[in-house]
Symmetry: C2
Amino acid sequence: MRYSQLLAPTLKDDPADAEVVSHKLLVRAGMIRQVARGIYDFLPLGLRAVRRVETIVREEMNRAGAQEILMPAVCPAELWQESGRWEKYGKELLRLKDRHDRAFCFGPTHEEVVTDIVRREVRSYRQLPINLFQIQVKFRDEVRPRFGLMRGREFLMKDGYSFHSSVEDCRREYENMFRAYSRIFERCGLKFRPVEADTGAIGGSQSHEFQVLADSGEDAIASCTKCGYAANVEKAEGRSPALPDSGETKRLESVPTPGQRTVEEVSAFLGIPPERFVKTLVYVTDRGEAIVGLVRCDRDLSEAKLKNAAGAAVVLLADEDTVRRTTGAPVGFAGPVGLSCRVFADLSLRGMRGAVTGANQADTHFVGLDLERDAGSVELVDLQMVHGGDHCGRCETGELEIHRGIEVGQVFYLGRRYSEPLRATFLDAGGAEQVIEMGTYGIGITRTVAAAIEQNHDADGIVWPIPLAPFPVAVVPLSRDSGDLWNTAERVYGELRGRGIEVLLDDREERPGVKFKDADLIGFPLRVTIGAKSLARGNVELKDRRAPKAEEVPVSEVVGRVAATVEKALAS
Amino acid sequence: MRYSQLLAPTLKDDPADAEVVSHKLLVRAGMIRQVARGIYDFLPLGLRAVRRVETIVREEMNRAGAQEILMPAVCPAELWQESGRWEKYGKELLRLKDRHDRAFCFGPTHEEVVTDIVRREVRSYRQLPINLFQIQVKFRDEVRPRFGLMRGREFLMKDGYSFHSSVEDCRREYENMFRAYSRIFERCGLKFRPVEADTGAIGGSQSHEFQVLADSGEDAIASCTKCGYAANVEKAEGRSPALPDSGETKRLESVPTPGQRTVEEVSAFLGIPPERFVKTLVYVTDRGEAIVGLVRCDRDLSEAKLKNAAGAAVVLLADEDTVRRTTGAPVGFAGPVGLSCRVFADLSLRGMRGAVTGANQADTHFVGLDLERDAGSVELVDLQMVHGGDHCGRCETGELEIHRGIEVGQVFYLGRRYSEPLRATFLDAGGAEQVIEMGTYGIGITRTVAAAIEQNHDADGIVWPIPLAPFPVAVVPLSRDSGDLWNTAERVYGELRGRGIEVLLDDREERPGVKFKDADLIGFPLRVTIGAKSLARGNVELKDRRAPKAEEVPVSEVVGRVAATVEKALAS
């Protein structure tokens, strides 16, 4: 394609509302434009990047044996009522009414619709397994859409669903999808890591997230230096280094701590170091039950772990009233002694003695706490967020490292979360009716484009991996004055196209500086520059976007060099 | 692909709610399923046909120099308010509100959004022309969605928009798009005709519809046997054969016709043949003005022609009150004499004498009407719907034929209908601000799939043109018992795939009759049947879906034969 015929309105300045680098660069490189908050136009270059991801995803899903379908964006409320999500989903679900006042939603995900297909068409175990996917526009009405494509309201997603006659077969497909996802992100040319994840609100019993590694990532992930174990920090299992033991068994003693609420305040007041403190947090589950979680004061509590320990779907930090009702004291003086609710303590607190906690009484703390002696039936479970340097909870010899990541895909073992309420059943070999086992597998297509930029950029612009680049190559003639120079550019352009490579010819009447700036901003992985000086030597310049300097290459060799690089990067 | 792994749930019986053949066959062949009225799931075979159309459209739009973008499905009300369509569009526009109570619509078309892109990015005539298209899911909240994909609520459409610095350049692009559309429907393998069309509610001054010819088509189109002129009948220009002249100039005379309202009743009552009657119809324009149209009693009035003659955007047949107010008489006795409103008469009424009309008085008609003598300032214009056998209004020597068609695409010369209210302007070479000229170009992707079936089917099922077939070829081994037979099937399947041809291998354990019935229903253009008897002779059967009988072909030749047929049909 010729640049003069391309709508690629590059900008010098960052858009005022953009906070993250992918948002800034997508707008500056003329790839997206905002239509409303969290809603974007994809201009030609942006759409090309989206299509690259889409094509790789489609090819790998087909290769893995999934079948592509297309479900509607506008989905009837009835199906969502059957699953119970119509009530539960909250305001992120964009609800609407048609002219006959019937309720619909703009599908943010399609578990109900796909389960409805399968329950209508599948009768026998002989028709299973089946794996259906679609690439469709989705809408989630985020309360504060921001970060451009990272957290938009309207976005493109690949959502896939598999249906099975047994748990084992569903687990086999989970592994199959796991491998397909790994191939997809490898083919995209991204540094990524599949990590064990909490199953969250969608339900189900097993899940992996695919995290694109980037310092700006919203998620923290922990991975073992030895055994390959990796998980979202909210779920990661680790062993923290032991606390220095106080060595003495003391008597539990209540001490007045008037007006001292935080660990720092009480520590200073009592002259006891903070690592001897136990943090007591009161939560409420989705069933309305108050529960308490205990962690070391130098660690955060993982709500995902607490939720799973309590067998709850959701846990929320309790408000002041609930804290008072549960502990008998105002916020700041909660402790594990004498509570009638369930109390969960992190494993690192096992055997802790001589500790400090609130005394469930205003302006009072306990010292000399022996957790197991004094706190009754505490349930010891893994509750804390891991830190870098913790021992790996799996191999117990490696150390955990913490990375930042952007979740671009997730695979779920769903079980019967949807098939049961929607009565998606089959007849087994013995003629008995059984509920179908399900898995679900999603990839944020537009989010992957943003994540690719978060991972691959520099001060001058985007640095696309070749497989995702809108154009892998730009051919940049520096002047229109010389016919020879221009003809060479046209010839290189034509020959690269003849090799099936997508090239942009910068045929604009602009100064070299403008062309280079735009090329760097848009992020062509390879740039062939044709200038008078090098051409006089029979050469052109070949520049890798990642390399500091261009290289002079004979005109006769440049097409072969470029083609080889691109073909290698695209080989699947 | 293997049939055993394909979700293609074929049905024996037509779905109860299906009225048209494409709807019946798409459901029976397991290609679509209804989710809600006018909203469908596309199952794998149906989606494959959709993608075929989509790919051809995309390739030809790119070839014609258009650039693909993607605009959101959810569009902000503000843009629609700027164009005035927010108020005008009516209930077909699916309106919705986000969580912050801001108004949006599910875009049924994107003139506003695309004009907003261009007004933001284009400053100078040097940036024009520009042609942008998208393939995006659309929603039109039809009051009675029916006919399956022919008139669904949610559908896939290619919508394109071009922007120009002059009327001439916009007309040039109109021709360019006209040619691209012709290539698209040729490549789809459809019999179609581009016809001149009324510009309708979307505005603009010139339009062609692309009509797929099918007896079941909703539209009637007239085409000349000699000069190639073709138009939607509502707009087609023709000259009807002259009426037998009564020969005599008579005096206008009012006669009592008590209770006689219809032409047939009055004709019988007065003993005057119906061809001497003039039909008088009262309409109201969108400006609230009552107008009258006159046509021969054996012809229908074209509302499109009346609307254009009156310079109105819309005309609606008047209700009883308006008829009474306008003519002074109840419905059934209207006539052109003595009216104070504008009266339009069809050209065929020029010089008509001795005619019969209502007398604008209850139970009274006029006889002896000389239209131009008696009716004052009648405007003579082309008003009537053409009939087959009329002379062509263009070349005046050929005859018009009437065909039925399904509109699958439309090109519009839009002018400034959107660029003016949205202030999409540019600076011309002299630095003066000018309003951009626009064209708009649409293709119903899912509708084209339905139209292809309306045109190509028989009693047994779909008869896909090769370019649109979900799979151009089915390989059908008749038995699993013989290893030789099965191996031959696998080999043919593998070799065809090796040639890049999409094949379905019917590896199901079903009787030959079931396999043949499904193959005919799904409509594979070519079927290779491998049976024991012909295989003993070294042959397989090759059946063209359109041919009455299969042909025996040596195993060694069948792949070449099939590949040649498919490649020829797909050559672009």
